[in-house]
């Protein structure tokens, strides 16, 4: 496999910090090149302005950049930032390589990162984004590559390492978005998502790393650069809608406000950048401070069992669907209206948690395993509590089993209406995986659509909250002694002495299922799933869902 890796490099005009970061980046990439499987042919190329060319023997040069964002407008503080369009042009002839890799100058590689990219391509990912971990130099010591590379750091949501098939290059629209400014990565990622047969979003690897987290783009100082990129995005969205259709574009993460603006002929009003997504500089939480644990799950996945399990630990106060449960009117308001309109009203959950936490002993762990978390209160909670105090257990169960249980309880069916207070229909306007009402063929479509919606909500939340501790758990695992012990380890809670005694069977809700009176075979559910995949498998949310569930096939 031939890989061409482009890095927009910097020279003397850049800050000392960025030049230092570039040194580490180049050291790491040189190491990764040498470590890579011999079958990989790797060409690393620098993209630079003519007066800041890089003089490193193993790095190839590309034609010098002849313009910057300064040529496209007036900005309060001059920054000579390259344009993505020019950088993409520097990849040259796509016939010369198989896989394009584009990373920022401050993104360092682990020794096996090229091997990883090649493996992921072999698994079928024809485009991918690998997000970094943010690491910090050791206090009082000169940082070294080995120290930085082996530091665990924390995950970061920003897209700063893309790899994609060279054949996609001619199809890419070349946006004049400035590098190093908000939205630039989206302009590429959206296109790759639309072009790829299988796009991979890898947020939980330790494949790349970055020193520190300055987030220059937050605040007003460089807001005029952000405005420039936003205008570029508006234009790009229009072109993408023409090329791929509005519905496909609307579903891209963060694209909806731009599509809506396009439809209304108004300026887009995307959400502002979040300044507190990841706060690695927050002091470690004091030992006596209450920690919070929530679950990201669909329901019928063992969330009640999870609360019972965690509640057996002596310093854990665990509840399943604690009050206020944030159901009914609160749910309707996040799926039938823009969720931001109910944000203030949904803050009652934060009030309630604060009140409950005040009633707990110092050093306790507050647990609410409600599946409403990702639907109605994750945003208000994560905006209100420091992320390092929050752990989120992504609790999974085989989707066929979940769907079977849903059907037998008649969720999304006409008999047991209470589900409407707990589960949003995927036909709701603000579903994360919206289905057209006319396209619904059976109750199973609503059930599977809901499961994909929850997965999409979870992934979006995960991407935005890397500072929180995310823990992946599977129902089959946590009902075993080893799995349960591991879970306690992960949330840093001492398990109860007689753990095996609490590993009781999961709540099967047999009586309610008997009342609903519609038993369904697993084969029938699997068959409905196949039908759903056949009709919706092309949508990125479903593809992502399937990818995350691989190994969970019926």
């Amino acid at each position: 496999m031939r890989i061409r890796h482009l890095i927009p490099t910097v020279g003397a005009s850049a800050s000392a910090e960025l030049r230092t970061a570039q040194e580490f980046t180049l050291q790491s990439i040189e190491r990764a090149r040498r470590c890579a499987d011999p079958s990989l042919s790797i060409e690393v190329c620098s993209v630079a302005f003519h007066d800041e060319s890089l003089d490193v023997p193993w790095v190839s040069s590309t034609p010098p950049l002849e313009r910057s964002v300064q040529d496209l407008g007036d900005f309060r503080e001059p920054r000579r930032l390259p344009l993505l369009s020019d950088v993409l042009d520097r990849f040259g002839d796509p016939a010369d390589f198989d896989l394009a890799v584009l990373t920022n100058v401050d993104i360092a590689f682990q020794p096996l990162t090229y091997d990883l990219i090649a493996e992921l391509r072999a698994e079928g990912y024809d485009a991918m984004s690998i997000t970094r971990r943010t690491v910090y130099p050791p206090l009082g010591r000169t940082p070294s590559l080995s120290r930085l590379a082996t530091s665990i750091g924390s995950p970061h949501p920003g897209d700063d390492c893309f790899a994609f098939d060279a054949t996609m290059l001619p199809q890419l629209i070349r946006p004049d978005a400035a590098l190093g400014v908000r939205w630039v990565a989206r302009t590429l990622k959206w296109q790759l998502r639309l072009l790829a047969d299988q796009f991979g979003q890898f947020n939980d690897l330790h494949a790349t790393f970055h020193i520190g987290d300055d987030r220059l783009w937050i605040g007003d100082r460089f807001s005029d650069y952000e405005s420039h990129n936003q205008r570029v995005v508006e234009q790009l969205i229009e072109e993408l809608c023409e090329r791929y259709g509005r519905e496909r574009v609307r579903r891209l993460q963060s694209a909806a406000p731009f599509v809506r603006a396009l439809e209304e002929g108004a300026a887009a009003a995307p959400l502002p950048a979040r300044a507190q997504l990841n706060r690695p500089n927050d002091p470690p939480h004091p030992a006596g401070e209450v920690r919070l644990v929530f679950a990201a799950t669909s329901g019928r996945s063992g969330s009640e069992f999870l609360a019972q399990l965690l509640g057996t630990a002596p310093n854990v106060d665990a509840g399943h669907e604690r009050e206020p449960a944030m159901i009914g009117p609160f749910l309707r308001r996040v799926v039938y209206e823009d969720p931001s309109t109910s944000y203030t009203d949904r803050m009652v959950k934060v009030d309630a948690i604060r009140a409950e936490v005040e009633l707990l002993a110092q050093g306790s762990v507050y647990v609410d395993t409600s599946h409403m978390f990702v639907k109605t209160f994750a945003d208000v909670v994560l905006d209100s509590f420091p992320h390092h105090r929050v752990s989120i257990i992504a609790l999974r169960r085989n989707p066929i089993d979940i769907a079977k249980s849903f059907m037998e309880l008649d969720y999304f069916g006409p008999i047991r209406r209470p589900w409407m207070g707990w589960m949003p229909s995927p036909t709701a306007p603000y579903s994360h995986f919206r289905l057209e009402p006319d396209s619904i063929q059976s109750q199973f479509d609503l059930i599977f659509g809901y499961l994909v919606d929850i997965d999409a909500r979870t992934m979006a939340l995960r991407e935005m909250t890397p500072g929180a501790t995310w823990i992946d758990a599977h129902l089959d695992d946590i009902t075993s002694r080893d799995g349960a012990s591991h879970l306690f380890d992960q949330i840093k809670v001492t398990p109860p002495a007689h753990l095996h005694r609490v590993l009781a069977p999961v709540n099967a809700r047999t009586a309610t299922k008997n009342k609903a009176g519609q038993p369904v075979s697993r084969d029938a559910v699997a068959s409905a799933w196949e039908s759903f995949i056949a009709r919706y498998g092309h949508r990125p949310e479903v593809a992502g869902f399937v990818t995350r569930w691989r190994g969970e096939s019926p």
């Binding site: 159901i327 609160f330 009203d345 009652v348 309630a352 604060r354 009140a355 409950e356 009633l359």
Partner: protein, 243 residues
């Protein structure tokens, strides 16, 4: 069309202070009604209220309040925009106030006094939440607090009794009355004998017993702040202005 103020009166949350002030500036039975056990001598004089309303144009009524006031009573005032108001008190302080009040009444009526420990043990949990849910027509369920919170977002004012001096003048101003601070009614140690005094351990014990009320009180602080923010920029009553 002038708005109608519905004052849900959760016991021991300052409702009598509001009622006494309205009694002093409005005419009971004309532009103000307060229904309930404590000021009329009867348990629930809904028939009298209906009779009274039938005899006059309901468009004149500025405010209706009282313990037995339910949301569905708004149907008696067709076409009037509703402004719902409730005060929520710190739960431990409210329970003790309730005990002091109840014991004072028992002593005055020559009835036996209930020991405080027994009173607390028998006191229904989360009484403010349950009282309010019932008044709002919310069916009993496991998720009562959820429904109460959902309804409170449409209230005109959800305030804390502790902030009554700050809120009441603004509320009176909303009603088109002079925005004055009312004199407190039923104050423990003054008109009501103080039989029990709060201490930190008792506060902790009572709050543990009424967790939903604690949450409700916490949320009331934010609702109250939102109300005050809506009032920001309007003329503020002077702090030494008493009725």
């Amino acid at each position: 069309v002038t708005p109608l103020h519905f004052l849900y009166h959760v016991p021991k949350t300052g409702g009598q202070t509001v009622r006494d002030h309205l009694d002093s500036v409005l005419t009971r039975g004309e532009d103000f009604d307060f229904i309930g056990r404590w000021d009329r001598g009867d348990h629930y004089d809904f028939d009298a209220l209906l009779e009274s309303l039938a005899a006059r144009p309901t468009g004149e009524v500025i405010a209706v309040g009282g313990h037995p006031l339910y949301r569905h009573h708004a149907a008696l005032f067709p076409g009037r925009p509703l402004r719902e108001v409730v005060f929520i008190r710190e739960p431990a302080a409210r329970v003790v106030s309730h005990y002091n009040f109840s014991t004072t009444m028992r002593l005055r009526n020559g009835r036996p006094v209930i020991p405080f420990d027994q009173y607390v043990a028998e006191y229904p949990a989360n009484q403010m939440t349950n009282f309010l849910a019932k008044r709002l027509g919310i069916a009993k369920s496991q998720h009562l607090l959820n429904s109460v919170f959902a309804e409170l977002s449409s209230f005109w004012l959800v305030g804390r009794t502790e902030s009554l001096d700050q809120l009441a003048p603004r509320l009176f101003g909303d009603m088109g009355l002079e925005p004055v601070m009312p004199r407190r009614s039923n104050v423990s140690g003054l008109t009501i004998e103080r039989h029990v005094t709060l201490d930190p351990d008792l506060v902790e014990q009572l709050r543990q017993h009424h967790p939903h009320d604690v949450m409700l009180h916490r949320a009331a602080a934010r609702f109250e702040a939102a109300y005050l923010e809506r009032h920001a920029g309007r003329s503020q009553p002077s702090v030494d202005q008493y009725s």
